[in-house]
Every structure is written in structure tokens, then in C-alpha cells.
């Protein structure tokens, strides 16, 4: 079992397990005759996409955004509002969602990145809360009852349809893989090194001549746009969007997924999303009031294993770090 002792190998095994589970879920659902699992895993991968995007700013950039669910909301509401006016063209929806998310992230990032530490946490939270209340106060788009989307996005071709659960599933799967690949490349690029350098020592990066504000802002926008993709997909899975998608607890859950999987590890957010779902499923079988167990569990994870599952992998068998 010498192979298992190397960290790299353990990471590879975990990656194969996690990605393999996602890749094979519809087949397993078919064999078990449980089509319900397809949508469940679709949802899970959308969380994963949001968590991957959050990991870019939180894990690599050290920016603790407590308002990331906003961008899920932007993506989902773009599809919802277009659908409200009977426009189902996928490409139009996608481009608009990306543009709106980028614009909002530019403005909100520009405001919040002027601040540091606790201020940043609270401002990102407050700005998301602002949009949440805005979405509640607009009666035209359903206020807190939300919008029902009567038709899913249309690709303008017969080759692929959002209405086919399996095709939709693999489309989400591909987007997730693309997001993983993108963040993998981004983190290893010059840009990624600057972002990581800014996290560990901002002053030094400034001295080296980098405008850290601009790098952070671009990273913030990229994360927002990626998360909005998740929102677009979410609206297509649920055929429904409501302000709840932007609720601040959703942002907290996303942070927990990132931390649980292991911050600043590429695959961490996906592992985190998967384990998060397994846990919530497991705890809610024990009692209807599963938050009673889940809350203290979350605290224990923070206290005992702040580096998450990825951190656990790097502990040697002998028990020493």
C-alpha cells in the first residue's frame, strides 16, 4: 500500500471518485430506476460550480465574500425574466447573464474591494442583501413568490435539448468540468500567481509593482461570471426562480462547501458540495430538525479541521503532519 502514502496519489484517487460519481450518476439512476437522482445530482453540480467560482476569490484570493449567492441569483433571474417575456433563446440569455454578472461584479467589487477584513465580509453580505430585498420588492417579477419559468432555454437546434434530463445533466457536467479546467489553468498562470501572492502578502506585491486592486477586481468579476453560469443552469433545472436563491444562508453554505472540501484546492469545492449534500441527506434522515446536528457539526469541522478534506488527505498515516 505504499502508493496510498503519497499525497498526490491520494488526491488523484479522491478526484477519480468524485468526478466518477458525477459522471456515472445518471447511469446509476437508470439502473436503480430512480430518475429523481438525476435532478438531485444536477443541483449538486450547480452548487459545485458556484463553489468552484467562490474558491477562486475565497481560497486563492483570500477575499471572504459572504454574498456570492447573488451571482447565482443574477444567472437564474436573467433566464426567468427573459422567459417572462417569452424569450427562450439560450445564447441571448447566456450573454446577458454574463454581461449583467460582470457589470454588477465590477460595481460591487469596486466598492467592496476598497475595504479589508471584516468590512469586506459585511459589505459583500449587505450588497447581496440589498439585491435580495430588491427582488422581493418587484411585484412584476413575482416578489417573494418567485417566477415560474414555463419553458427551458432553447438552443435553436434539435441536437440537444434542456428538456431531456440526461442531456441537461451532461451539459451541466461539462460546464462543471470546464470550470474546473479553467480555474486549474488560471491558478497556474501569471495572473494566478499574482492573486495568490496578493493573498499571502499584499504589500510585497504592491512593492513589486502590481496593482493588487485591479487583479483582485478582475478575479472577483471572473468568479461572479462563473457563478452566474451556475444560476442560468439552475433556472433550467428548477423551471423556477425566487429570491431564496440569493438568501444569505445560501452564501454561507457555499463558503462551507469550499472550506469543507479544502480551500485553495482545485477539486475541493466539488468534494465539498458532494459531502455537504451527503451530510444533509444523512442528518435529515435522523431528524426533521437536522440543523440541530448540522450546526454543531459545522462548528466542529471549523475547530478541528480548518483545512477541510483536502487537509485531511495530507496527514500522514503515522499521525504526524
Amino acid at each position: 500500500m505504499r502508493v496510498l502514502n503519497s499525497l498526490q496519489n491520494r488526491r488523484t484517487i479522491l478526484a477519480i471518485l468524485v468526478i466518477g460519481t458525477c459522471a456515472l450518476a445518471p447511469i446509476a439512476a437508470g439502473i436503480l430506476d430512480q430518475p429523481y437522482y438525476i435532478n438531485l445530482f444536477s443541483r449538486l453540480m450547480i452548487w459545485a460550480i458556484a463553489a468552484i467560482s467562490l474558491n477562486l476569490i475565497l481560497g486563492y484570493g483570500g477575499m471572504i465574500s459572504f454574498g456570492h449567492s447573488l451571482y447565482l441569483g443574477i444567472g437564474a433571474y436573467t433566464v426567468g425574466i427573459f422567459a417572462y417575456y417569452d424569450i427562450y433563446n439560450f445564447y441571448l440569455q447566456l450573454v446577458t447573464a454574463v454581461a449583467v454578472a460582470a457589470f454588477i461584479a465590477l460595481i460591487f467589487g469596486g466598492i467592496s474591494l476598497r475595504t479589508r477584513g471584516v468590512y469586506f465580509i459585511m459589505i459583500t453580505m449587505a450588497l447581496t442583501q440589498m439585491v435580495y430585498f430588491l427582488s422581493i420588492s418587484i411585484e412584476e417579477y413575482g416578489s417573494d413568490d418567485g417566477l415560474i419559468i414555463y419553458d427551458r432555454s432553447d438552443f435553436g437546434t434539435d441536437l440537444i435539448s434542456m428538456d431531456n434530463p440526461v442531456q441537461r445533466y451532461y451539459l451541466i457536467f461539462l460546464v462543471m468540468i470546464a470550470c474546473l479546467y479553467f480555474s486549474h489553468r488560471l491558478i497556474r498562470s501569471r495572473f494566478g500567481y499574482v492573486i495568490r501572492g496578493t493573498k499571502s502578502n499584499e504589500t510585497r506585491m504592491e512593492v513589486l509593482g502590481y496593482s493588487t486592486f485591479r487583479y483582485r477586481l478582475v478575479c472577483f468579476i471572473l468568479a461572479g461570471v462563473m457563478c452566474a453560469l451556475g444560476g442560468v443552469l439552475s433556472a433550467n433545472v428548477e423551471k423556477f426562480v425566487s429570491p431564496d436563491i440569493m438568501h444569505w444562508t445560501r452564501s454561507g453554505e457555499l463558503i462551507f462547501m469550499v472550506v469543507l472540501g479544502g480551500m485553495a484546492s482545485i477539486l475541493g469545492p466539488v468534494t465539498g458540495a458532494l459531502v455537504f449534500w451527503l451530510l444533509s441527506e444523512f442528518f435529515s434522515r435522523i431528524t426533521e430538525h437536522w440543523h440541530l446536528i448540522f450546526g454543531p457539526f459545522l462548528i466542529l469541522v471549523v475547530l478541528l479541521s480548518p483545512r477541510g478534506i483536502d487537509g485531511l488527505l495530507s496527514i500522514k498515516r503515522s499521525g504526524n503532519e
Binding site: 471572504i64 466598492i111 475595504t115 471584516v118 468590512y119 420588492s137 472550506v259 437536522w290 454543531p296 459545522l298
Partner: protein, 307 residues
Amino acid sequence: MEWALLIEQTLNGIQFGMLLFLLAAGLTLTFGIMDLVNLAHGSMYMLGAFVGATIFLWSGSFILAILLAVPLVAGIGILVEISTLRTLYQRHHLDQVLATFGLILFFNELVQVVWPLDGLSVPFPDYLNFTVPLLLGIEYSVYRLMIIGAGIVVAIGMYILVAKTRLGMLIRAGAADRTMIYALGTNIRLLFTLVFGLGTALGALAGILMAPILGANSGMGEQIIIIAFVVIVIGGIGSVRGSLIAALITGLIDTLGRSFLDVLLAFFIPVNAAEAAAPAISSMLIYIFMTCVLFFKPQGLFGSQTR
């Protein structure tokens, strides 16, 4: 008539501001001295409302409810501090945010288990349930005036505590340099626990006072705690004076915005458009105000430059 409404809404705004101050004072103290981001402060407000309401409904005495519920909830807060939060002081803000998020989930669910109905509705205490005439024939609720009074008393008390007492001296010293007062021999653990208990007591008091107006519901803490965050960000984290001023401004902007924004907007755009846009804009007003303040002063109105 319009003037009477304006005065009444101004008083409502001040009352809301005082409530926010009660919450923000505790938050800003725990942050200023312990460097702890405590999202679960709203849970203590919620517990205050539930415990206070239960004692009030059971005994019929509102004063007894306050006298019993405030120390009870402060005790729960101290237990939480000793069991969980104490180990978090030296940790990263992210860990604090997540762990206190876990506390919120726990307490929200706990309240639903202990009080299984859909929240509690609480009557006004009889002796405060009347109105007094003010200027221009306005009748104003004595209960709301009492909340304003309570806020003023707490503000004065906090000033005396922080500026004039030995404990206050330690609080100020701790906020300026934690390591130094530890090195000088202060029992810093005890100090932190005391300050946390004090903050919790203020939050619980706010909860009881609001229970007759809003009732007690699971999740009531978060709605208001995010606004309390806005308040301490505007006021400058760690500054009690800043949180008082910011709380009053925020309370007034929110309340007056909700009542008069449509009238104000109608000067600039057509009346129908103004009436349609006003609710949406007024729900965002305080956040817009926060953004404006931070744009010019990223550390808030009274924040120190070091943090």
C-alpha cells in the same frame, strides 16, 4: 396633516435606530475588543424575544420578563463563549464567520423545537399600551417612546462604562492593544467573557423590547442583524459612539424612505412611476447610504485607521 405624519415617522425612525443601537453596541464591542466576527449575535436577540415573551405570557409581568430573560440569555451567551467562541479568537475571520453561522443554524432550529408553533405573538404590557398627545394633535405610542428612552439610558450607561470605569478602561485598552494588556497582567479571558456577556445582554434586551411590536419568530435575528452590520460598518467597527450615530441615521433613512420616498420622487418623475419605483428603491436606501459612506471613508465614520 403631512407634518403630523412626518413627525410620527421621524419618531418611528428614532425608535428603530435605538433598537439598532442596542444590537450594534454589543456587536461593535465584541469586535473591537476581541476581534471576533459574531454572526450569531442575532440569535441572542431572537432568544431574548422568545424567553422574554414566554416569561411575560406566563407571569403577566413585563418587568419580571426583562429582569429574568436578560440574565438568562446572557448566561446562554457566556456558555456559548466559553464552549465555542473562546477558541476562535486567535483564528482567521473566515473560521469565525463559519462557526457562528453554524450557531445560527443551531439556534434557529432549537427555537423551532422548543416553541413548535409558528412563533409567539406578544401583547403590549397594559400600563404602556396607550398613546400620549404630542404637538399638532399627534398621538404617539408610549411603548415606542419607552424604547427610545431605553436606548438613551443604554447609550448613557455605555458612555459612563467605557469612559469612566475601570472595566471601561480595560475595554479601551483591549481594543487598542490586546497583547499589551495581557502582558500587563489583566485576566483577559475573564474580560472577554464579561464583555461578551454584556453584548449578549444588550441584544437580548432589544429582543424582549421588540417582541410586543414584531412578535417572536425563528429567523427574526438575521433580518435585523444584517442591518446592524450595516450600522457598525457605517459607524466604524469598534466605535460605540459611531454605532449610536450610525444607528440613528440608518433608522431614520429606512423609516422615512419607506414613508416619503414616493412623495419625494414625484417632484422629479411622473407620479405613477414614482409610486412604482419607491418601494424598490426604499428597500435599498440604507445599503446605498452605506456604499456612499464607504466610498469616502472606507473605515466608516468613526473607525480607526489601523483595522
